[in-house]
């Protein structure tokens, strides 16, 4: 069996055994949900409800004002307690709709499915996806409707369904593929119809052989290719996945559209199917709760807006001395300062563990491991020095804006230099300076 993969990258310990075999179980909706109006890449949604309003499950409570945005829906039925700033996993408080749950899950009337989704036009599929507020569920939370709408001059020939789940510890995508294979594949077909592509490729890493075998054995009514990939991080990063599967390179600063590809995460594919076939907006998602700080690691279906604390309590609570709470995977996840933050559309996992005092940082000794591992072909240590000594122009010409912050460099750095933090700092400084200049 030929296993495909990309150049460079790393293979950190997977730690997936905690939850690999745990079935996805639904988490009961909590008494109160906190639904931020900004859970996606792009502009925040505008509130449609006010304090005291009654809302139904799946009712739209935030409307996307522009193209690059996504609508937000209520994940319970009940009464709006407030529309105000509230803690958010991305750090800064965000306008949040707090709804008290009446426990009845009364469905909003607009959640209507379609009997034969495959007969829908591309236009209709896009409209339904947009209406359902679907964003990329891999973590970046890019509005899915935008991805389904390739520019006129760029023909899309391939839809890639990203089943890599290359982040260690996370297993939610694995479980989705195992438990809802039809939903995923049918969702992929809808994506294919919407983008006008000819074929679907599902990329699966070889640490999920059970999924691979299961999907290989099925018959498909449309052109689906199941492709096995060598387990490596960051295979799930769009550009690397395209390189691994198709040997095509997305040009610098470009999008997968430029090489005729659309990439969707398996969870997103399922959400597309749910939205189009069942009229279900994106008000819950699958996530992995794991790490040595969690008493009973699990895979859960969680309503958007559920506080982390409620999720963790369901998994037996925090172990004592846990001092690190991460939203997302261990390679790219964000640390949280409080467990009061709500689950959002981009929450692929909640990881908790404890850590000792960090090891001492040394000067860069030029071992070049970061260079050897960078999946984008950058020279992270050089970039770090440019940022450290304020040579932003040099950093830019050396390609810092191509950095995807995957963390491969920092993972492999024997001097324990916080390379990603430096690079993020540099990218942000350069981008904000550019913005200032163009303004």
């Amino acid at each position: 069996m030929q296993k495909k993969t990309f150049h460079h990258g790393i293979h950190p310990p997977e730690h997936k055994h905690f939850t690999e075999t745990k079935k996805l179980e639904p988490l009961p909706a909590p008494d109160k949900v906190f639904i931020p109006l900004h859970q996606h890449f792009g502009a925040p949604a505008k509130p449609l409800v006010k304090k005291g309003d009654e809302v139904l499950l799946g009712q739209k409570i935030g409307k996307s004002p522009v193209l690059f945005s996504a609508s937000v829906h209520s994940s319970v039925s009940g009464k709006v307690l407030s529309v105000d700033g509230y803690a958010h996993p991305l750090g800064k408080p965000v306008t949040t709709v707090t709804v008290s749950n009446d426990g009845e899950d009364r469905l909003a009337p607009e959640t209507q499915g379609h009997e034969n989704p495959f007969s829908l036009s591309a236009e209709d599929i896009r409209a339904r996806v947009k209406e359902a507020g679907i964003v990329g569920l891999g973590g970046a939370a890019f509005p899915a409707a935008v991805k389904l709408n390739p520019p006129k001059d760029k023909a899309v020939d391939t839809v890639i369904i990203n089943g890599c789940e290359c982040e260690p510890m996370l297993t939610a995508d694995h479980r989705i593929m195992l438990e809802y294979p039809d939903d995923v594949i049918q969702g992929a077909e809808l994506v294919r119809i919407a983008t006008g592509a000819q074929r679907i490729i599902v990329g699966i890493e070889d640490n999920k052989l059970d999924v691979y075998k299961q999907l290989r054995q099925r018959d498909y009514a449309f052109p689906v290719e199941i492709s096995l990939l060598k387990t490596k991080y960051p295979q799930g990063a769009e550009k690397n996945l395209i390189a691994a599967l198709l040997k095509r390179e997305v040009p610098r600063g470009g999008l997968p559209f430029d090489v005729g590809v659309v990439v969707q995460n398996v969870g997103t594919a399922k959400a597309v199917w749910d939205a189009v076939a069942h009229g279900k907006p994106l008000y819950e998602r699958a996530l992995t709760v794991s790490g040595s700080g969690i008493a009973e690691p699990k895979n859960l279906m969680v309503r958007i807006g559920t506080p982390f604390q409620a999720v963790i309590d369901h998994c037996g609570g925090l172990k004592e001395q846990s001092n690190l709470v991460v939203m997302g995977g261990p390679m790219m996840g964000l640390t949280q300062w409080t467990t009061q933050v709500p689950v959002i559309k981009g929450t692929s996992g909640i990881l908790v563990w404890s850590e000792e005092k960090p090891a001492r940082e040394y000067n860069c000794i030029g071992c070049a491991r970061c260079v050897g591992h960078c999946p984008m072909g950058l020279v992270p240590t050089q970039l770090m020095k440019f940022i450290k000594y304020d040579a932003l122009a040099d950093a830019e010409s050396a390609g810092i804006l191509d950095c995807v912050e995957c963390g491969s460099c920092q993972y492999s750095c024997p001097a324990r230099i916080p390379l990603v933090h430096w690079l993020r700092l540099g990218k942000n400084k350069i981008i904000s300076e550019k913005r200032k200049k163009s303004a």
Partner: protein
């Protein structure tokens, strides 16, 4: 072969900067960025080659026949001053950014001892015309090599934690010293 050897020797073995200590001012002053170092090196190489030619002609056609060799210093410096001024005007015309980058060092090529040194050494060593030209170009390239390498190192040292008092000229001189050590490897290769 002899000419080739001479050429190589002028670049590596008897490098103007690292062996004769000529042209230290621009070597320290214009070696902060690789780009300007390359331009400076090119300008110097150009001026050196022409100086070699013109000074040879003046020396062999005017000064020596008329036994005026005590006028060497004055005559050479005149040649150099005029040439440099020409080059300066030229660069200013064709590339203002380059002119800005080389800044005050362009006029300083006049007082760049490498160029005066070339004229004097070439006459001291009694080179033939062709030898003088080769020697001039080689020496210029040797200077360029030294200054470009130095600029590369200094760009890297800008990103290093060099002790405060040594920053700038201090560390540059120490680097030059170690470079001179490394270049001793070539000694004895060409006599």
């Amino acid at each position: 072969m002899n000419l080739l050897m001479m050429f190589v020797a002028a670049i590596f073995v008897q490098n103007y900067v690292l062996y004769y200590f000529l042209g230290i001012c621009p070597f320290l002053g214009v070696s902060k960025k690789i780009d300007s170092a390359v331009s400076m090196g090119m300008a110097v190489t150009f001026v050196m080659t022409i100086t070699a030619v013109v000074s040879w002609m003046i020396n062999h056609w005017i000064l020596i026949p008329y036994k005026l060799d005590y006028l060497q210093i004055v005559a050479f410096i005149l040649v150099i001053a005029s040439l440099v001024q020409l080059v300066e005007m030229f660069i200013r015309k064709i590339s203002p950014p380059l002119y800005q980058a080389l800044g005050i060092y362009l006029p300083l090529i006049t007082t760049n001892c490498a160029i005066m040194g070339l004229a004097l050494l070439a006459s001291l060593k009694n080179f033939s015309f062709l030898e003088t030209v080769i020697y001039g170009t080689g020496s210029g390239l040797g200077f360029t090599l030294a200054i470009v390498l130095m600029a590369g190192i200094r760009e890297q040292l800008d990103l290093a934690d060099v002790p405060e008092p040594l920053k700038g000229a201090g560390i540059a001189l120490i680097v030059a010293g170690i470079m001179a050590l490394a270049f001793t490897g070539f000694s004895g290769m060409i006599n």
